[in-house]
């Protein structure tokens, strides 16, 4: 059995965000594995640990810089990694949902996995759509926002909980092959061990161009164009107390007493 995990490296934006043109300025950014993908990697590794003969392959769209993040997924237990990048992707203004789904679908068609795990969303774009778009392109089944997964590999069924709004979970059986988008909290992502980090250096990490995966630059064509990026205007009309922590805590204590809050 093969499990493909989509892994994205995302920029962590500080409290003070700096915008340059149509994107956040690169200089000040730190990069990390997308939080949702961390849970997806963990889920895939757990599947490989509790079943025989499971290979976990990660797929990433991103520049060379992302290799560090990809190696982290390998250090956590993925077996092999693929990263797609080339000049056409580098030159694109941004990659829309369809473009990303097309590229990952091209990789998935070559890899032929039984199961694809993808984060619910990436913390940068917050599209929340690539996994389901990918399933449609592959003709796979899917389930979005999964926070519990039991796999019956022999029967070819994934029994999942989908986390709906308001503390309700939907219990659903999904036929494989399928794409599941993984919600945070489904497991406890491990930290990479030193041994894992050493081993990751020797695991295969293939870099492929669009041409290598059977696509060309036209995959980046999109009718959707980013036209601006800006910091949202603060709608705050909060009373913000100034002063030392003694003073501000005192102000708040006074307010709470006015509101009828008393010693518990």
């Amino acid at each position: 059995m093969k499990v493909l995990v989509t892994v994205k490296e995302v920029a962590e934006v500080d409290d003070e965000v700096e915008i340059s043109g149509l994107d956040v300025a690169e200089g000040s950014l730190e990069y990390d594995l997308n939080e949702w993908d961390d849970y997806a990697v963990e889920e895939a590794v757990q599947i490989s640990e509790s079943n025989d003969g499971v290979e976990v392959v990660t797929v990433t769209i991103g520049p060379e810089r992302a290799d560090e993040t990809v190696r982290m997924a390998l250090a956590k237990g993925a077996d092999r990694a693929i990263r797609v990048w080339d000049e056409a992707l580098e030159g694109a203004q941004f990659l829309d949902i369809g473009t990303k789904a097309d590229i990952i679908a091209a990789v998935a068609e070559a890899e032929d996995p039984d199961l694809i795990l993808s984060g619910v969303q990436a913390s940068d774009d917050s599209n929340g759509a690539t996994g389901v778009a990918l399933a449609e392109r592959l003709g796979f089944e899917w389930a979005a926002v999964v926070n519990d997964l039991e796999l019956d590999a022999e029967a070819g069924v994934a029994s999942v909980h989908r986390e709906l709004e308001g503390g309700i979970e939907e219990l659903t059986d999904v036929e494989l092959p399928a794409v599941l988008t993984i919600q945070t909290g489904i497991n406890e992502p491990r930290y990479a061990s030193l041994r894992g980090i050493r081993q990751a250096q020797r695991k295969p990490l293939d870099t492929e161009s669009l041409d290598d995966v059977g696509l060309d630059a036209s995959v980046t064509d999109s009718p959707v164009e980013r036209t601006s990026m800006y910091e949202p205007e603060s709608e705050s009309d909060a009373v913000v107390w100034d002063g030392s922590a003694d003073e501000t805590a005192g102000e708040l204590a006074e307010l709470l007493r006015e509101k009828g809050v008393v010693e518990g």
């Binding site: 965000v17 389901v132 389930a143 926002v145 986390e163 945070t184 990026m229 705050s236």
Partner: protein, 322 residues
């Protein structure tokens, strides 16, 4: 040409976002000088259609296939309706279920898709607004296409109120319900337990800013000192530091206490959805740009580890060493 909005319901009730989609759809249809059609799929669609009959809706399609949400049925129904209506704009909810079918529908119909849209400007082309990087930036996108699909963020448009005079039409989707690849087995309510945070008059809520599990007792002590109930934002529950019944937000509980004190909570939209109804909101967060301050009534922009111990002491408690 038409605008087609798809309603959402769950376990017998239309969800609020359905009426917000009607408002957004009505505005967009007016800009495009076209009709607004609303589709409601599965379950008691005749009753839902009556409820959705609000001002500005021209036609409501009641699609009687299936009982609860299933993306296979929704896809079949929407593809069938699109074949008939050829809508310019397909408006879908940016909900958990909306995101379970919107990307697939857009793919199957070859429509550009923009998700989590919070504003629509219609000129010669359509331009939409959305947030990125956890609400730290807003972006606008121009969609240069004759047809497109958007998922709309909840609570950005007011719900459509007055009754309308729409035509209600029954529609049958061409879907083989026995051949669906996903089967919904049932539902489960989570987060019940000893404490019901929705009952509390005063909530002290802890978020990611607390840093480490061993610091949580500091906020717990504050709740105790105030005679309040302890709640939290999502990351605290994801980390297993507090049980699920303490979680405030879109996927947790919706709370409406008299006083809500957010400690180290940035105020992501999913969290705000669960607590914006509180009478008085107080934020303690060192980031002055945190979105929590957009809805807070009072704030202390300072290190919570400086402020919280002093507040505990002001109410006669003793701050634990963390």
């Amino acid at each position: 040409m038409t605008v087609l909005a798809v309603a959402e319901h769950r376990r017998g009730d239309l969800r609020d976002v359905s009426f917000e989609l009607v408002t957004a759809g009505r505005e967009l249809a007016a800009d495009l000088e076209t009709d607004l059609a609303v589709a409601v799929i599965a379950g008691d669609v005749e009753r839902f259609a009556e409820e959705l009959n609000r001002e500005g809706v021209d036609t409501i399609y009641a699609v009687g296939n299936g009982e609860e949400f299933n993306h296979g049925i929704y896809m079949g129904a929407i593809e069938g309706l699109c074949a008939e209506l050829d809508p310019t704009a397909l408006l879908l909810p940016n909900s958990v279920n909306g995101l379970d079918y919107a990307p697939a529908v857009a793919g199957a119909l070859d429509l550009p898709l923009v998700t989590d849209v919070s504003g629509i400007e219609c000129g010669e082309t359509v331009e939409v607004v959305r947030e990125q990087y956890g609400g730290k930036v807003e972006t606008t996108y121009e969609i240069d296409s004759e047809r497109y699909a958007l998922t709309l963020r909840a609570a950005e448009w007011p719900p459509a109120e007055p009754a309308g005079d729409a035509m209600i039409e029954a529609f049958q989707a061409d879907v083989d319900e026995d051949a669906l690849g996903t089967t919904v087995k049932g539902f489960e309510e989570v987060g019940s337990g000893d404490v019901d945070i929705t009952d509390a008059d005063v909530l002290v809520s802890v978020g990611r800013g607390i840093g480490e599990e061993e610091n949580v007792p500091l906020v717990e002590e504050l709740a105790d000192a105030l005679g309040a109930t302890l709640s939290s934002s999502r990351p605290i529950v994801d980390n297993g530091w507090l049980p699920q019944n303490r979680q405030v937000g879109q996927s947790g509980k919706v709370v409406t206490p008299d006083v809500y004190i957010a400690v180290g909570i940035s105020g992501a939209v999913q969290h705000v959805a669960g607590m914006k109804g509180a009478d008085t909101i107080v934020a303690i967060n060192s980031d002055p740009n945190a979105p929590i301050y957009d809805i807070a009534d009072y704030g202390i922009v300072d290190d919570l580890f400086e402020v919280v111990p002093r507040l505990i002491e002001a109410f006669g408690g003793q701050a634990p060493e963390v």
